[in-house]
Amino acid sequence: MKNTYNINDKGYYGEFGGAFIPEMLYPNVEELRQNYLKVMAESSFQEEFNQLLKDYVGRPSPLYFAKRLSEKNNTKVYLKREDLNHTGAHKVNNTIGQILMAKRLGKNRIIAETGAGQHGVATATVCALMGMECIVYMGEIDIARQAPNVARMKMLGAEVRPALSGSRTLKDATNEAIRDWIGNPVNTHYIIGSAIGPHPYPDMVTRFQSVISEEIKWQLKEKEGKENPDYVVACIGGGSNAAGTYYHFLDDENVGIIAVEAAGKGIHSGESAATSALGKEGIIHGCKTLLMQTDDGQITEPYSISAGLDYPGVGPLHSHLYKSGRGEFYSATDDEAMQAGLELTKLEGIIPAIESSHALAVFKHKTFQPDDIVVISLSGRGDKDLQNYIDYFKL
């Protein structure tokens, strides 16, 4: 019964996953598929990865007992402080892993897609660290509304290329990055930022992010005398911080898995990114998963106040957790998330990223028992969202 919820050897989580890619991408993806587990298992890789996570990223990230938030919600809440990582979010765990992978595969040019710019910054950061050429595709509209992150990427030496096609946001930036990879199959590695894309990406990204749940286990053991919480909670856009937060608990059914998606202005408002509620099984960016689409199979444009959750699909692992019933899925509206973010700020002195505020909004949807231990992934810090908070609360 082990590994029921994990990926199988054909690259599927249950019925979700696979590699639905045009033949032009086959050699690139196949090279990665054949090598990623082997490379990750090398002791020199492990050493370099762990060293960088420790000395450069600042891991382990603290597991913080949020006393006042716990009192408010009459349960025991721990926050996994990914917001304290270098570059301000969990994204860097994956980009460190992938840049080391790229080096070992002999690549000298890195491409990435970005929505809000967090993954773009995390990619540009590791490229600067390794002295690699870096091109980040970003929707023209996102470039306009995320100016500070664009400036960061440029300062780090990356070239930011606007995606001018389609809706000019994250999904179009992803399309452009894939097209670049089609045109540069030999020297280029594509660092996908979430647990999405063709196999092996969802699994590779999940493994790099799994350091989050690995640390939760020993940190909780130190604090509570047991490795397993009653619940792990994370927000889901594509789902990389969630995948990392759940990973070591997937097959331990005593641990409840809770996902919070972005409901935007309301699930049925027409302006939402609540993929599990609104999506149907289909193919997006090379993988079979739940996605928001028309009856005719055209991919639709999502909406959330949080740019990091503004994606029309979810990673195949999460589709499987949803469909199998292993995960409990909720969705938080913009308003609920913003209020939850402000509440954490006032109670604990921590300004969360709006993405993470969605996870904190779980208390609006679920009541926990007083002796439950609830670990929430605080995936990023709110500095990047200050303007949004200012506008929303008229500060």
Binding site: F20, E23, G166, Q293, G297, Q298
Partner: protein, 256 residues
């Protein structure tokens, strides 16, 4: 025998044209097909537009976006094509991405294609192994030829595998690129055409991507059975409309 196979048995070099259904205007589909047949092309690929066409460059993507905006859907396309076999006999292939087919239902889609008289499908993001395991029997049940792509990076072993599950022709992507990305072929391309030709595959090869005039058509077909033109044709009808297609086709075939 399938119309595609009949055409492939011909000893001439074949010219196939791609256009996006619903572009430039929603109701142009039937006229474009009729006009292309009359202008002497050998095969037509009807593009079913998709919101996120990963393998396509800017020209075809823009035409797809416009077509969707014009209201093109799978149902609409099938409706436009329902009487097409009363007026044309040219081989017709639907080219699109897998998700719209999946949402329509793969078997329902194939059945509809057979009813209309579609001869084959090209779905670049339906991988060969998934087709082989899950869908091959359905395609064959409805008499449809499925066409796979190969590129200069495709290994000899994989080309042989793709050849073994193909029953029409192999679509040779001329270089590592999306559609419409380049003009003219270099030594690398001609070596690649030559290399694949020497493999003596069961299925003939037709070259696509990067063909836009008589020079590139001739280069592409020296070692292969034919060539496919997409982006250059879309550009042409954007500027010149959908009538008088001889003016586009004749120069490519070297006719005046």
């Amino acid at each position: 025998m399938n119309r595609i196979n009949q055409k492939l048995n011909n000893d001439k070099k074949l010219l196939s044209i791609y256009f996006t259904a619903g572009y430039p205007n929603i109701d142009d589909t039937v006229s474009i097909i009729q006009n292309l047949e009359q202008s002497g092309v050998d095969m037509i690929e009807i593009g079913l537009p998709f919101s996120d066409p990963l393998a396509d460059g800017p020209t075809i993507q823009a035409s797809s976006t416009a077509a969707l905006k014009n209201g093109m859907t799978t149902e609409k396309l099938f409706d436009q094509l329902k009487d097409i076999r009363k007026s044309v006999s040219i081989p017709l292939i639907i080219m699109g991405y897998f998700n719209p087919v999946l949402q329509y239902g793969v078997e329902a889609f194939c059945k509809k294609c057979q009813e209309i008289g579609i001869d084959g499908l090209i779905l670049p993001d339906l991988p060969a192994d998934v087709y082989d395991e899950e869908y091959k029997a359905i395609f064959e049940k409805y008499g449809l030829i499925n066409v796979f792509l190969i590129t200069p990076q495709t290994s000899e072993e994989r080309i042989r595998y793709i050849d073994s599950i193909s029953n029409g022709f192999i679509y040779m992507v001329s270089s590592a690129s999306t559609t419409g990305a380049q003009s003219g072929f270099g030594e690398a391309q001609t070596n690649y055409f030559d290399r694949v030709a020497k493999m003596n595959l069961t299925n003939p090869q037709i070259v696509g991507f990067g063909i836009s005039n008589n020079d590139t058509f001739t280069q592409a077909t020296t070692h292969t059975k034919g060539a496919i033109i997409g982006s250059a044709f879309i550009k042409y009808i954007s500027e010149n409309g959908i009538n008088e297609l001889n003016n586009f086709v004749n120069p490519i075939l070297g006719k005046n």
